[in-house]
Amino acid sequence: MPPGPTIPAPIAREADGRPALWVCNRCGWVYDPAQGDGPGGVPPGLPFEHLPEAWTCPNCGAEKDDFIH
């Protein structure tokens, strides 16, 4: 049987509906999905939850789990 339509896993959102901004609890750097994480890095458009688990803070190297929103 072909797979049916899938419902994406829920992601955190801002009040206006866009995917949430997440802040590094170590250094305060903010991941904004609309911007990605800079030249040569994660392209714009990826919700924080969809970043690879090995992704780290581009400013201080903290792990993904160190981010809060």
Partner: protein
Amino acid sequence: MDRPVSRPLSEIAQSRIGRRSALRALMAGGAAVAAPRLAGAATADGDPSTLTFTQPPHTIADSHQVAPGHRAQVLIRWGDAVAEGAPAFDPAAQTAAAQERQFGYNNDFVAFMPLPVGSQSSDHGLLCVNHEYTNGELMFPGMTPKDKLERMTAEQVEVEMAAHGHSVIEIRRQGRDWAVVPSSPFARRITMSSPMAVSGPAAGHRRLRTKADPGGRTVLGTLNNCAGGTTPWGTVLIAEENFDTYFGGDPRKTPEAEALARLGVKGKSRYAWSRFHDRFDVEKEPNEPNRFGWVVEIDPYDPTFVPVKRTALGRFKHEAATTALLPDGRVVVYSGDDEVFEYLYRFVTKGRFDPANRLANLGLLDEGTLSVARFDKDGSLTWLPLVWGAGPLTPANGFADQGDVLIDARRAADLLGATPLDRPEDVEVNPANGRVYVMLTNNTKRKAEQVGGPSPRADNRHGHVVELIPPGAGKGRRARHDADRFRWEFLFLAGRREDGATTHPASDRFGAWLSAPDNCTFDNRGRLWISSDQGSAQRKNGIPDGMYACDVDGPGRALTKFFYACPRDAEMCGPAFTPDNRTLFVAVQHPGEDKGSTFDAPSTRWPDFRDGMPPRPAIVAITREDGEPIG
């Protein structure tokens, strides 16, 4: 982030590293073990370093560790009394009123200012200490990083704001121990509720005006002060760094959208301040962030002195602000902008230092020229002035006046073609040889195609130290820190040998490796003392943060030795010697700051190790058991 990131300077970097490495190999016989000595080398076992202390274990532990034969005394901790009337610290019942009088959180920069003023006293003085930021989950019970933004109460936010800023305490050495002088008339706390004056070209600027301060000349408080510096006239400079992280609201809805974006203000804070204070919501007060990111001058010898934000030194994420006195009396201030791909700045005063009239120097930092560094292909460095009306700094590019140039110093530096660096943190002049040492902490975001010049490594996890050489630098000479062009060298690339470290090969036998050089100071012999901040890489690297030291001249150049280990999950800050070098003050910041570590279940309870008492950032005074100078 569409600005140019790097230029193809890799061939220069390679040749410069190559030359230095070749020299090292020559000096050490090309092997880490043999290290044959040159004339003047220090010890019988072949150690070419002039530093003779024995290293403590280079391992992460719950408590701190110092080189054998030394004492490490905890002098003052978060919550200890500073101002008259401070109550005893009770972590379970914190109030803002108490915190306003107690030693603040996350001590960073430390300056020892001798008493009486202008003396070289080494057993009596003022200790001036920054309190950079707060860790809510380690300060308050029942909180985790994930829920603290919702759980934080109005009173807890007030406590956090009172735990920021600066402390001035009077200290005295009695026998072997240092003690805080109780009820000192000099003792004071500076917090987020302390009024500050704004001076210099941006004072009163339209973009500094707010509802609470329509004149744009008085700001409440100072925040995220990382390192700092002292002036020849005995004042302290403290440097506002990551101010962006305190602001909520959506910056895209403000007239400051572009300027805020360049500084990383995205409206997502790791603090709950904007829930209780409109000025931390950029939609309600879009100019409030423009009132932070400055260098602040404090006269610690006058407890009534109103701190002054010196706008002439520019606005960015200042790591520090360190000074050098020119032969003609003008004063130079160096400052790094501590973020990946940011710049190195220099300010030169117009006026001259008057040693006969201390207070007459208090306006010196209001007039002068701010410049930013470009590292050139021929191994030289050129200082590019940030002067309104010159080159691209015109109304056509959105700069209406010098105030705009200073408020948007990063954008001005972008247009001038400054060289992006790997997190320029502390920048200090070595009084012994006139050279300037730049700590470049790390930059894991640098790509192979962005390697070059002063940034020789992609994925730079361990950082490096660059040495700037002004014309005239050298022993017993007067370096021209005001010159338009300098030369530069690498002192070393940090890390393990397999990471490409270029520390002295004999470091492997007689010293220790380090990662993430952050702050620094010099002893009276001109040797470099470095504090490290690996952040969350501490566990990965398997070594503690702490103090390291090395020679910068002679056969032991760049042979790094390990001197003091922070407790677990802390970073090392604020190294400061007394004038006689018999005491080294260091700041242990955020002990226990690790994933899952909270007030209720911290990863260490340093320094008290008592149930119910969370880890406490603290100042440590290190002395030698035999009372001799350290090193």
